[in-house]
């Protein structure tokens, strides 16, 4: 800390300052303070990286009674928490990006050292059985009457864990399947693009009702502008998408291999 590196003699005391010496010292202090602020800012930016400065809010951890979400009993809406996802009607009053109503308290900003993971709150006891991600997908598919696809949508990174045990939020999992299907059905892939090594990454800003805000941004181009164009068109054509678990920026990767 620069503040400690003081060359001003420790013998100088407040009541001894004359105007000239005081001014010089005040300047020195200002200089050191500004230097300290700049140094801290640079340090923090470098440490946490510019891409983190995304406006997307925290993923909402939803409390769900997994037994209620399974298809075999009457598949009613999860009883545990209200306002899990905004229903298809009505759209939110505010057209801007609206995070869903807070389902439960997010204990994310503790007073001590920051925690990267949100603590979940499972209100029910006894604890529901821990389900495997594949089981959840399979059950969702059964419910929707779909055969298991030969090429399942692959997740680039595991979704925000619920409960800290690595299990997947089933609402998120179901939405990932349905949004991939919606975009896939609008994606035109002529023969020369299929099974090529072209890849396009987009970032799509979704509103709470599934509408696309603006136009998708090309995060990484395939190198072929028309392949990129077809990816952007696929998202725009599929809009409105199924309403996401939360509004905000969602990354899409277009991979034309069968």
């Amino acid at each position: 800390m620069k503040g400690g590196d003081v060359t001003v003699s420790s013998a100088i005391r407040l009541e001894d300052w004359t105007y000239e010496r005081g001014e010089r010292e005040r300047q020195e202090i200002r200089r050191r303070l500004i230097g300290s602020l700049i140094g801290h800012a640079v340090f923090l930016v470098l440490l946490f990286g510019l891409p983190s400065w995304s406006p997307a809010p925290l993923p909402a951890v939803v409390s769900i009674d997994l037994l209620a979400a399974m298809p075999s009993p009457a598949p009613s809406a999860p009883r545990a928490a209200p306002k899990v996802t905004p229903p298809a009607t009505p759209p939110p009053a505010a057209p801007a990006v609206v995070p869903p109503a807070p389902v439960q308290k997010k204990k994310v900003l503790p007073r001590e050292a920051p925690k990267p993971r949100a603590k979940p709150v499972l209100k029910r006891s006894p604890k529901p059985p821990q389900l495997d991600y594949d089981d959840v997908l399979a059950s969702m598919r059964d419910e929707l009457g779909e055969p298991t696809p030969s090429a399942e949508p692959v997740l680039d990174s595991p979704p925000a864990p619920a409960g800290g045990s690595g299990r997947v939020d089933p609402v998120l999992a179901a939405w990932l399947v349905s949004v991939e299907r919606a975009v896939r059905h609008s994606w035109v892939t002529p023969a020369q693009y299929r099974n090529s090594d072209l890849r396009t990454s987009l970032v799509v800003t979704l509103m709470a009702d599934g509408r696309v805000l603006g136009e998708p941004e090309i995060a990484r181009s395939s190198g072929d502008p028309h392949f990129d164009d077809n990816a952007v068109r696929a998202v725009m054509q599929a809009s409105p998408l199924p309403p996401p678990p939360q509004a905000g920026d969602w990354p899409f990767l277009f991979n034309p291999t069968d």
Partner: protein
């Protein structure tokens, strides 16, 4: 407080303030990536409106005929399909050409289109003008806008070029419906060079003489067709039949390798030089020579047979057939003859290579049992697979200039006929019928 401790305190508070502001950044995570795989859509869905007739009287240019000609051009490539009128949620006929904005994109999207083509025509004093607008209705963005003026009588045929331009605006690669295919036919009883449109219509002979013709090849730009003629009592020699006034018809390279047979010539992509198959001491060899006969350079030096050259689209390499390894196989070398390497290792007889316009594939024929199939191999030799397989023989592949289709000759119906197929082997179409044996098809370049 001393100034020292005060400055320390200020710095300390500043640090804590910055750290607190940064906490939400630390606690955030990116949403998971959604990976999208290809679905069933392999073609853009185009709503092709009937163009509004604004002229005082378009007697010769009828909007319905123009629309059907455009539709055929758009659907010539499998990358585009046009929607039936019943699916239109907007008007079937263009009401007005839109400028840079339109309000009905959502309507067209709901009807299932991702592209809309609108237009107006007018005709005065025998000259027709067609104005076209192409819209991406997903993003509500105009992709293309152009005005074409031609004599009214030629406009329906010219519609193919307009359709090719529209395909280019939608997909990035210009369509190839306004192209031709040259081939060898025995229609007249002896082998002649013939021509037809890319869809098979308008077939007619380009030569008519007593010699046997073989190995047609297009001049870049399409201004003429090079071929080999076997005149009785003479060595085979190269000739050009002109299709534009800029090209001189007659013999080519007559002063080169005099007395030696000239079996075949294939133009370099720029048209400045040719790859030539001739003979040295009775053994066929490959040469390169400028169009005027100068700068003759021998490329192969092996006592084996070397034939069938094809240029890479950048003109830097030549693929050819050689039996130096014991059986006819496809080799690749630099355009100066250096760095020869064998490409095909599968199959006992591989020939007739044709390099794709995008440089990524070489189509060729491979013999299985007593007949040939058409395969594709990439220039590194890693990927190699069939695209046309049939118990009868399929030979002599040649690429359309947009690289979407391949033309070849097949005896599947008895006599040899010309067929075209998509580059993945689908959408087979027969082009010739009832005119003898038809072989050695070569697809023209884009019209100039």
């Amino acid at each position: 407080m001393t100034s020292l401790s005060r400055s320390r305190a200020c710095s300390g508070f500043a640090a804590v303030a910055i750290l607190c502001a940064a906490l939400p950044v630390l606690a955030q995570e990116m949403n998971p990536t959604i990976e999208v795989r290809p679905g069933g859509l392999t073609a853009h869905r185009v709503a092709l409106q009937q163009f509004a007739d604004e002229g005082p009287g378009s007697a010769s240019l009828q909007p319905e005929k123009l629309r059907e000609a455009l539709r055929a051009a758009l659907e010539f490539t499998s990358s585009v399909v046009t929607l039936p009128d019943a699916a239109f949620l907007g008007p079937v006929e263009t009401e007005t050409l839109h400028g840079s904005r339109r309000a009905d994109c959502q309507e067209w999207r709901t009807g299932g289109a991702d592209v809309l083509v609108e237009g107006v025509i007018d005709e005065t004093n025998g000259r027709a003008r067609v104005q076209v607008g192409v819209w991406d209705v997903a993003r509500c963005l105009r992709l293309f806008s152009e005005s074409y003026v031609r004599p009214a009588a030629t406009m329906p045929r010219y519609a193919r070029r307009i359709g090719d331009d529209i395909v280019g605006a939608i997909t990035g690669t210009r369509g190839a419906s306004a192209t031709e295919i040259a081939f060898i036919t025995t229609d007249t009883g002896h082998r002649e060079v013939a021509l037809m449109d890319s869809g098979g219509s308008n077939a007619r002979n380009a030569t008519n003489s007593n010699s046997v013709k073989a190995f047609p090849a297009w001049l870049p730009g399409g201004g003429g067709i090079l071929y080999t003629a076997y005149v009785t009592g003479q060595q085979p020699a190269l000739y050009v039949t002109a299709r534009s006034r800029a090209v001189r018809a007659g013999s080519l390279l007559g002063n080169v390798l005099e007395g030696e047979p000239k079996y075949r010539g294939v133009f370099h992509p720029t048209g400045e030089s040719l790859a030539l198959v001739s003979s040295v001491n009775g053994s066929s060899e490959l040469f390169r020579v400028a169009r005027d006969g100068r700068r003759l350079k021998r490329l192969t030096f092996s006592p084996s047979i070397e034939v069938s050259p094809t240029w890479s689209p950048d003109g830097e390499q030549i693929a050819f057939v050689s039996d130096r390894s014991g059986s006819p196989q496809i080799f690749v070398m630099n355009a100066d003859g250096t760095d020869k390497r064998r490409l095909t290792f599968q199959g006992g007889y591989n020939s007739s290579p044709a390099w794709s316009p995008d440089g990524r594939w070489i189509a060729y024929q491979t013999r299985l049992d007593a007949q040939f199939d058409i395969w594709l191999i990439d220039p590194s030799g890693e990927a190699n697979f069939p695209i046309v397989e049939h118990p009868r023989s399929d030979e002599s592949p040649s690429w359309s200039p947009d690289g979407r289709r391949i033309v070849f000759s097949s005896t599947r119906r008895g006599r040899a006929d010309i067929y075209t197929v998509d580059r993945d082997g689908s959408n087979l179409i027969r082009l010739t019928r009832d005119r003898g044996d038809n072989t050695h098809p070569v697809w023209s370049p884009y019209p100039e």
